[in-house]
């Protein structure tokens, strides 16, 4: 291991490439490589390299958890509750057990992923966990075929004692509402974020207030702030529950052996699967191996083992055979996560010149039976408003638990914040961009980036041709709007990369991290290749195995920011080692040895070099192995929440939306999005563009279509499928123009930061602001479907 605490002070250039770069002194660990120049001077990093694992994906060879077939493998099928709130009186599994082909049946004695009672004794005498939502897993059956497992699962008889239930936010807030939990609850964070601040008061279904998110907290005195304001706006915004709907549903294959438990997991974090399984089944971590070759999307919901995973392990242990549990689409929608709803009451005070004097937010949100339905940290973190107060309440209802979802909380918070700022700009007769220019002045990288992004975006989007609201006379009205994005720049606390150079010239890089579609293998391969003068495809990347050196979670936009510096540091050490071995044969000193374009040579003498493979062979060694950690950011962090290390600096972007609103049918079409983003040093523009496309498209989908519908009578999700849980399809995809700036923050050896989440944060607000520009009416309720749009157009004026 190559950790030294020695640092030297180096002068490096920091800033935005093409805008301005200034020298700055940084204390950098001595054994870390010299700082990288801007991307223009690099060969692999910063280049649109093809995804290194694209071929298995386009040929169907990529093996997802759902594709794992092991000898003797059984198929698991879950038995879920059919009522929203009940005490289980009895469970009769005898008929299921007797069904041909059934090898094991297991009843859950504990429900994961939901809020837990602070005082567990309140329900300690219950025979079975209480049912708190329709679709809550209760038991599972393992059989030799899926058909048999399904048939047997239907034979499990459950007798319920129904308890009163509530499935609607407003109803749950009433004093006389049925209570979901008999006492206060807590929700621990998953590695993907989520979780709720501990120890908050709880009354009925209301838990809170929580004041300020993610290290934020209010400041100043809002009353005083409002007193200083010339204009005060009070507005109410509502957002709906959105489900993650990854194309590969949650699933786990468990193979319980006496000496080891092997888990094939569709996951965003292999190590969270290992750790939760080890904890739940009281196994040493080394006895649990987690493999995740490919994961078919996650978006925040795939952490830990979940109830389905616990069931798979139990069944495998009982049946002494591997068991695969993969959820069907209905179970996926109902039981493994969603983005909580929100009801946000926002009050904003400003002076006539645009100076914001106070922001007050009171919010409610429901994550069903999970806590942590907050509205993000933008209120305190994004703008230096002098007086800010936020109070958030979680509202429990009898519905499936929420989970982290691409920029959890922040998406809801920004929808309201960036819209109320737009409302204020209109009120003040100010250009919305000019207002941002005035207030977006924090001394942090994301604010500096947005300043440049506003300029670039305004130009590309043609902001100057923006017309006054409701300028079109026909029924179809067009408009343009802007909103700003912010997300935390996060680094995973424990991250190690191992690089091996073999005597035959092959190069291997390893990390336990997985790939959920963001390109983990590719960015790692690029980083290693850059340092060794190779091509990305020359590097054999091995990921998705808990036996490899610890890698990050694919959540919080931290994969690239965590992996690439460790990969570079390890490769640098390996390269120096190799250089020392090669130098004599080139008649040079080790520190004169360069690796470039597949060749190894001494500085100034490229003609006398040899190929990388020749060099390795000539140096005749068996294997060079180097490991290096992702060191802490050179300037440290603002907060460390477990492995979640959060920088003082953020990441973000600015998005411009053009919409067409058919005011007669209420159909909104997003025609174009200009998305200008920063992510530190862009490692792979092609993959970044893909991420931004994805974020924007999910943002449009959230803005216009998606909504979970629950039946009030039974708490059942009515549209738990793909045709009626409406998501953007091919014809709803706007023209998306992406521009990424190159910002060198000089906090790590690669300067890489994330982009997946900020790409999703601003879209709904930008669309809403464009809607106002198009129609002269505000839409403060999501989704902007015909029902909500026609209601908004009928409402009088732009004010509420």
């Amino acid at each position: 291991m190559s950790t030294t605490d020695q640092r030297d002070s180096r002068t490096v250039l920091t800033g935005i490439v093409g805008d301005s770069l200034q020298p700055i002194a940084r204390n950098i660990p001595t054994d870390e490589p010299p700082e990288l120049p801007p991307n223009a001077e690099l060969r692999v990093i910063g280049k649109p390299v093809n995804r290194v694992d694209a071929i298995p994906k386009v040929t169907g060879k990529a093996r997802y958890t759902y594709d794992v077939q092991l000898p003797g493998m059984l198929y698991g099928r879950i038995v879920s509750s059919t009522v929203p709130h009940a005490r289980i009186k009895s469970i009769d599994t005898s008929a299921a057990e007797a069904y041909p082909g059934v090898k094991a049946v297991h009843i859950l004695d504990r429900i994961l992923s939901i809020a837990q009672l602070r005082d567990a004794s309140a329900e300690a005498n219950e025979r079975y966990p209480l049912v708190r939502y329709n679709g809550q897993p209760i038991a599972a059956v393992a059989a030799t075929s899926m058909r048999a497992a399904k048939a047997a699962a239907k034979l499990v008889r459950i007798e319920y004692e129904r308890l009163p239930h509530v499935t609607n936010l407003e109803a749950a807030m009433r004093d006389d509402a049925p209570v979901v939990f008999p006492g206060p609850v807590e929700q621990a964070a998953t590695a993907g974020g989520g979780g709720a601040p501990p120890g908050l008061p709880q009354k009925g279904n209301l838990r809170g207030p929580a004041r300020g998110g993610l290290g934020g907290g209010g400041r100043g005195d809002v009353q005083q702030g409002f007193a200083q304001a010339d204009h005060v706006l009070s507005r109410e915004y509502r957002t709906q529950v959105q489900t993650h709907t990854p194309m590969e549903t949650h699933g786990l294959v468990a193979d319980w052996r006496d000496d080891e438990l092997t888990l094939y997991a569709s996951t965003q974090f292999t190590l969270s699967v290992r750790d939760e399984a080890a904890q739940l089944f009281q196994l040493p971590k080394e006895k649990v191996r987690v493999i995740s070759e490919f994961t078919g999307g996650g978006f925040g919901a795939k952490f830990g083992i979940g109830n389905y995973g616990a069931l798979a392990i139990h069944l495998s242990r009982k049946a002494r055979a591997p068991v695969r549990v993969v959820l069907d689409r209905r179970e996926e929608h109902a039981s493994v996560g969603n983005r909580p709803s929100s009801l946000q009451r926002v009050k904003l005070g400003a002076k006539s010149d645009g100076t914001v004097t106070a922001l007050q937010v009171e919010s409610f949100g429901t994550g069903g039976v999970a806590a942590g339905a907050g509205v993000g940290f933008c209120h305190t973190a994004m703008y230096p408003f002098p007086n800010v107060s936020t109070e958030h309440y979680d509202v429990f209802i009898d519905a499936g638990p929420s989970a982290a979802f691409r920029a959890p909380g922040q998406v809801q918070g920004i929808f309201a914040l960036e819209q109320v700022l737009d409302e204020m700009a209109h009120e003040l007769g100010m250009d919305p961009l000019a207002l941002r220019e005035k207030i977006d002045t924090n001394d942090v990288d994301d604010a500096r980036a947005r300043k440049v992004e506003r300029r670039i975006g305004a130009e590309r989007a043609g902001w100057s041709r923006r017309r006054p609201p409701a300028a079109d006379s026909g029924p179809v009205k067009r408009g343009i709007g802007v909103a700003q994005s912010q997300w935390a720049y996060i680094v995973h606390g424990t991250m190690t990369c191992e690089v091996r150079i073999r005597g035959d010239g092959s190069v291997i890089a390893l990390t336990s991290a997985q790939d959920i579609g963001t390109g983990t293998r590719t960015v790692m391969a690029q980083t290693v290749a850059e340092e060794l003068g190779l091509r990305a495809e020359d590097v054999d990347t091995r990921i998705g195995d808990s036996r490899y050196p610890a890698g990050p979670a694919s959540g919080g936009s931290r994969v690239t920011s965590s992996i690439t510096p460790a990969a570079r540091n390890a490769t640098y050490l390996a390269a120096r080692d190799l250089a020392a071995r090669v130098a004599p044969s080139l008649g040079a000193k080790p520190d004169e040895i360069l690796f470039q374009d597949g060749r190894v040579f001494a500085r100034g003498r490229p003609d006398r070099g040899m190929t990388f493979v020749e060099a390795c062979k000539k140096a005749s060694f068996d294997e060079i192995v180097q490991r290096a950690d992702r060191r802490e950011d050179y300037d440290g962090y603002r907060a460390k929440l477990g492995d979640l290390h959060i920088s003082r600096h953020g990441i973000g972007g600015v998005q411009f939306a053009e919409v067409a609103v058919d005011t007669e049918t209420g159909v909104v079409k997003v025609e174009r999005i200009v998305a200008v983003h920063d992510c530190g040093r862009p490692i792979n523009p092609k993959l970044i563009e893909s991420q931004i496309y994805g974020g924007v498209i999910q943002g449009v989908s959230y803005a216009l279509y998606e909504e979970r519908h629950l039946d009030p009578g039974t708490g059942l999700q009515l549209n738990a499928n793909i045709d009626q849980y409406k998501i953007v399809g091919s014809r709803e995809v706007p023209k998306i123009e992406v521009h990424v700036i190159e910002q060198l923050g000089r906090q790590s050896s690669t300067d890489a930061r994330g982009v997946a989440e900020p790409a999703n944060v601003a879209t709904a607000a930008a669309v809403a602001n464009a809607f106002f520009n198009a129609t002269g009416k505000r839409i403060r309720t999501l989704p902007m479907n015909p029902a909500n749009v026609l209601a908004a157009l009928r409402a009088d004026g732009g004010r509420s």
Partner: protein, 162 residues
């Protein structure tokens, strides 16, 4: 249970199935061809798209028995002798995928389109994948890739030296 013979990617297979079995179940569970995915199992996401006598169908909504006597082409049968189909290559080059789970189905629909209509337009591509869901949002690159593959096919056809 019924005896059933199917021709998949040009090769004959005999399987024993319950008549309620869908084509995708046979492909994945009986023949081990797991490239074809299930996203919804209800005809609503097209992840399970295969060709039946050259036409796209949702294999999750197709009784296996209805595939008797027909040529079934799956994603595993698209590349010929390790040579990627132009649409597959274009998907790689244009990063028309992220998690990759919708990809086999998308490729089958886009390959069908460009083979039928090498002169296809953006609207045609949108139409061809209008029944598909890509939750990762790879659409813009799927469009670009398919149009690029179509252009490559046109060139190949008109080409032959000129």
């Amino acid at each position: 249970m019924m005896e059933l013979s199917l021709t998949v990617n040009g090769r004959p297979f005999a399987v024993h199935v319950d008549p309620a079995t869908t084509l995708v179940e046979v492909l994945r569970d009986e023949l081990g061809l797991t490239g074809t995915k299930i996203g919804c199992d209800r005809g609503a996401c097209s992840a399970c798209t295969v060709w039946l006598d050259g036409e796209v169908v949702a294999s999750c909504m197709t009784f296996a028995l209805d595939a008797r006597g027909k040529q079934i082409t799956t994603i595993e049968g698209l590349a010929k002798d390790e040579q990627l189909h132009p649409v597959q290559q274009a998907f790689v080059d244009h990063d028309a995928l992220q998690c990759g789970f919708c990809t086999p189905g998308m490729v089958m629909s886009c390959a069908h389109l460009v083979e039928r209509n090498p002169a296809c337009t953006l609207d045609d591509v949108r139409g061809a994948v209008s029944g598909h869901l890509c939750r990762c949002g790879a659409y813009p690159n799927i469009f670009k890739a398919t149009l690029a593959a179509a252009a490559a096919m046109r060139q190949r056809k008109s080409g032959g030296g000129t």
